[in-house]
C-alpha cells in the first residue's frame, strides 16, 4: 500500500495535530506502508497534486479543513471540489474540520472512501494524549487491522465514548465535552452514506437530561 501523509504546521492547532500525525507516520513505517510525507512547506497544492499524480492508495491529511477543502501550509486549499478527482477510488483519512460535509461526500461519489468529520473539531490541551488516541485509532482499525469501515467506525466511536467517560472522572469536563462532540461528527464513507449518521439515528435531540445532572459534571 502506498500512502501520502500531508501535515501543515503554521498555527496553534496545526502545531498539535502535526505532532498527532507523527504516530500515524510511525505506524505506516512499522507496518510496511510506503509513505510519502509532505510536511510544512511541502504541504501545498502543487506538491500534493504532484504526488497524487504518481499514484497512491491512501491520502492522510492532518489538519485544517472546510466543508469543501483541505487547507495547506500556505492556508490555501490543497484539495477542494475542483481537484478532488485525484482522490477518486482512494482511501482518505483526515481529522480536518468539516471536510466530510461536501468534500468527503464528493470523494465518496467518485468511489473514494472518506474518514473525517462533518463539524468543527475541538480539543483541549489538558487531554492531548486522549485526543491523539481518538483521532488516530481509526487508522489502526482501517489500515493495520484492516477492519471494514462500518465496524471501524463503531469501534472508534466506542473509543471516543470511553475516553469521554474517563475524562469526566478526571475532572477534564471541557475535554470530555469536545471528545463527545467529535465522536458524533466522525463519519466513515463507505461505512455509511453521506447524510446518515451511521449509528441508527441520533437520540440526542430527544433525550435531554435534567440540567442539575449536567451541572454536576462541572463540579470538581
Amino acid at each position: 500500500m502506498k500512502a501520502i501523509l500531508v501535515r501543515p504546521n503554521f498555527d496553534d492547532a496545526t502545531r498539535y495535530t502535526f505532532a498527532f500525525a507523527e504516530e500515524i507516520l510511525e505506524w505506516c513505517r512499522q507496518d510496511g506502508i510506503d509513505v510519502v510525507e509532505l510536511a510544512e512547506g511541502e504541504a501545498v497544492k502543487s506538491r500534493v497534486e504532484e504526488e497524487l499524480k504518481k499514484g497512491a492508495d491512501l491520502f492522510i491529511f492532518y489538519d485544517h479543513g472546510d466543508e469543501d477543502c483541505l487547507v495547506g501550509q500556505d492556508e490555501q486549499p490543497v484539495v477542494n471540489l475542483n481537484n478532488c478527482h485525484w482522490l477518486a477510488d482512494k482511501e482518505v483519512y483526515t481529522l480536518a474540520c468539516l471536510s466530510a460535509k461536501k468534500l468527503g461526500a464528493e470523494v465518496w461519489r467518485q468511489k473514494g472512501r472518506y474518514w473525517g468529520y462533518t463539524e468543527v473539531v475541538g480539543f483541549t490541551t489538558d487531554a492531548l494524549p486522549e485526543f491523539k488516541k481518538s483521532f488516530n485509532c481509526g487508522f489502526t482499525y482501517l489500515f493495520i487491522e484492516r477492519i471494514p469501515h462500518g465496524t471501524a467506525l463503531d469501534k472508534a466511536r466506542e473509543v471516543f465514548d470511553k475516553l469521554a467517560t474517563t475524562l469526566v472522572s478526571e475532572g477534564k469536563i471541557m475535554a470530555a465535552i469536545y471528545m463527545r462532540k467529535n465522536r458524533d461528527s466522525l463519519v466513515a464513507y463507505n461505512g455509511q452514506e453521506p447524510g446518515s449518521n451511521g449509528n441508527g439515528g441520533c437520540l440526542l435531540g430527544l433525550l435531554k437530561a435534567p440540567v442539575q445532572v449536567v451541572k454536576k459534571l462541572f463540579k470538581r
Binding site: T125, V168, M174, R180
Partner: protein, 79 residues
Amino acid sequence: MGDEKILKAAVIRYLEKQEEADPGWKLVLGKESLSAAQVRERLQKDKKLWKEIRQWADALAVDMFNEGSKKIESNSGTP
C-alpha cells in the same frame, strides 16, 4: 431559563478553576485557540458556543445514565 443560568455559572466557575490550575490551558476549536479566560468571555456573548457546550454536556449526561443502566443490568445477575 433560571436553570440554564445556573449551569452557565457552573461552567464559568469551572473555567476559572481550570485557569488557576493550568494558566496555559487552551481550547482549540478549528482555527481558533482560546484560553480559559477567552472561553469565559466568549460564553457571555457567543450564543452558538454556549449552545454547543450545553448540547454536548447534555449528551454526556445521557451517556452517564445509559452507562449506569448497563452497570445496574450487568450487576443484577440472573434471576
